[in-house]
């Protein structure tokens, strides 16, 4: 009998269309005569909130430990041990989430969308490495970041990357950062998390494109040290600036530099700078003119960048789901599309009018217009400042770790004879002569 009712229902449903569903419940709850007990659906809980606190605590602990290891203990092997721990904990155990790199997206969203609730643990992850960075430089990159650590562990045959290439490639990272911020601010998605290359390893499960991306980065990373950190990582760019300003920074030697040149090739990331040679006196006037020219050029570059960014905004805005939906609905309404997509079907159930959706799209488009212009201007500013920075005559007296580029991995420590003496005072008698020889050479 029940089946008969159902058939009627199906027929009427087909006739009237499903939109005219009207009853609260088509079939009343059954009255059981046996002692059947109705089961309830299980609700397996997510990770307890306590874990968030633990993650924050572990982050703080590892950061402080890293500071101690890099600045006071100065032993690469200990730093490697901490890296392995970070890969295991933040990587494999916590599956690479939450991480400060991705937190850029969340923080941006919370700044632009007052309806978004920023989890406290994300905020801690975003600010803590930066805060520590202002005091001690990029210790986070050195031993705590699981993405950095997994790359650092595969640096087997590092080849030097010429300075010009490194600087040019880093512009790509700036573009990535500004687009990520733009997309997060306009509610179009979190780019950084979407293209996290090592997530496939940390989760031991992924779609094939991400896995290939990860293998690619690790494969390249055997020969080019830490490619993601140096040429992609947006958080690394923030930490670079923190490193520039930091109160203390990593030093190659624990004492005074003796210019032995032994550390020259120690850094696989090209972050050790030799002392500068004297700049030629005769081109001084020309170099100054060039600087002035570059400052003027900067203004033009910014204007041009802004214009290109503005012109690109309709293209960029297509990444926004609302814009994409509005375009779909519009092409549907215009008869350019015969079958409604799932998105259109879903939109039709929300009760929102097409016009309201278009208005929303226009709003998003205008924020993209502003954002695209700003991104273009910002990219031009970055490149222009870089041009100026390269053209300034710097003076360096000693072998130094680059404040911005040093990833605090601790490889160079062992190359410094002064450090070796500290570690093994027994070597002193043997090495003193060679040290003197080196000093004489220098």
């Amino acid at each position: 009998m029940r089946r008969g009712i159902l058939t009627v229902w199906i027929l009427s449903g087909l006739l009237l269309g499903t939109a005219s569903a009207e009853t609260v419940r088509r079939f009343p709850p059954p009255q059981f005569e046996t002692d059947y007990v109705m089961p309830t659906a299980t609700e397996p809980p997510p990770r307890a909130a306590l874990w968030d606190t633990l993650d924050s605590a572990v982050l703080l602990g590892t950061l402080l430990l890293a500071v101690w290891l890099i600045f006071f203990k100065r032993r690469r092997s200990w730093i490697v041990a901490l890296m392995i721990f970070s890969v295991l904990y933040f990587g494999f155990w916590r599956k690479g989430c939450v991480c400060p790199i991705g937190a850029i997206g969340n923080v941006t969203v919370s700044l632009f969308d007052s309806g978004y609730a920023l989890p406290l643990v994300v905020l801690v992850f975003f600010l803590l490495p930066l805060g520590i960075g202002l005091f001690y430089g990029r210790v986070f990159c050195g031993a705590v970041c699981p993405l950095g650590a997994i790359q650092d562990l595969v640096v087997l045959r590092p080849q030097p990357v010429p300075e010009w290439l490194e600087t040019a490639l880093r512009l790509g990272a700036w573009l990535y950062l500004s687009l990520s911020v733009l997309f997060a601010a306009t509610g179009s998605g979190l780019l950084i998390c979407r293209y996290d290359p090592f997530i496939a390893f940390f989760r031991l499960s992924s779609n094939s494109s991400l896995l290939i991306l990860g293998i690619l980065f690790l494969g390249v990373g055997v020969f080019i040290g830490r490619p993601y950190c140096r040429f992609v990582c947006p958080y690394g760019l923030l930490l670079r600036q923190a490193g520039r300003l930091s109160r203390r920074h990593v030093t190659i030697t624990p004492d005074e530099c003796i210019h032995c040149r032994l550390c020259e090739e120690a850094c696989p990331f090209g972050a050790i700078h030799a002392p500068t040679a004297p700049w030629p006196e005769k081109t001084l006037a020309r170099d100054r003119r060039r600087l002035v020219f570059l400052f003027v050029l900067l203004l033009f570059l910014i204007a041009a960048g802004g214009w290109i960014g503005y012109r690109l905004h309709p293209l960029l805005a297509r990444a926004n789901p609302t814009v994409a939906l509005a375009d779909q609905v519009q092409s549907m309404e215009a008869g350019l599309r015969s079958e409604p997509t799932d998105e259109i079907r879903a939109f039709r159930t929300t009760g929102q009018s097409d016009e309201a959706l278009y208005a929303q799209r226009d709003e998003i488009l205008s924020s993209f217009a502003l954002g695209g212009t700003l991104v273009g201007m910002f990219m031009a500013l970055v490149a222009g400042v870089k041009l100026i920075a390269v053209s300034v005559r710097r003076v360096r007296v000693d072998y130094e770790a680059d404040r911005a580029g040093c990833l605090a991995c601790g490889r160079c420590f062992a190359y410094c004879p002064r450090q070796r003496l500290r570690d093994n005072p027994a070597e002193r008698t043997v090495s003193n002569t060679s040290l003197q020889k080196e000093a004489a050479n220098a």
Partner: protein
């Protein structure tokens, strides 16, 4: 070269200034953002009311076996013999034969309770979250079958891959202390 110490101190001053500005900015950002932040954390969940059962949950999760599974709100179920969430639209016989079933993995178990009622339970180890049964049940039944993110499986990715693919924006962030949006417990 005698202007070198002077130059250095100017740089020092600049750096000092920038440092102070940065640390103040970081502090201010921390304060502003902390005011907007919240605990406990948020987790992903499907708003079953917005879900249209498109089937993308089964294919877009970063896990090779989706974290989204079908959940049964028993108190909403009609315990029908002809369950449109279980059977093909036009079943030839009401039994458990594979040829009649809607579920592509046979994850729904059908059990006789008493005349004329049948109980349907979800075998989660088999369910792939395709939502075929959800659509079937919602079309002609009480809508007691619906999809939920199962938090014993979900990694709570920062950007959920299914949320990005979801056509109805049914993926929402819910507080971790109330992580399910059960249809019968509102």
């Amino acid at each position: 070269m005698n202007n070198k110490p002077n130059q250095l101190s100017r740089r020092q001053l600049l750096r000092e200034g920038f440092w102070t500005v940065s640390i103040t900015a970081a502090g201010a950002a921390a304060a502003v953002l902390a005011a907007r932040s919240r605990r406990p954390s948020m987790v992903w969940q499907i708003d079953p009311f917005k879900c249209i059962g498109c089937g993308r949950c089964a294919t877009h999760c970063v896990l090779s076996e989706s974290a989204v599974k079908c959940v049964h709100a028993y108190s909403m179920c009609g315990y029908c013999d002809l369950c449109t969430g279980y059977f093909d639209p036009d079943p030839k016989a009401l039994d458990t034969g594979a040829e009649h079933q809607l579920c592509p993995t046979g994850a729904i178990r059908r059990r006789f309770v008493e005349e004329p009622y049948f109980e349907f339970t979800i075998d989660e180890s088999r369910c792939i979250g395709c939502g075929k049964c959800v659509v079937g049940c919602a079309a002609f039944g009480n809508g007691s079958l619906f999809l939920q993110v199962r938090h014993d499986r979900c990694l709570n990715c920062n950007e959920c891959a299914i949320a990005r693919a979801c056509p109805s924006q049914a993926f929402v962030r819910v507080p971790a202390d109330r992580p399910y949006l059960m249809k019968d417990q509102r």
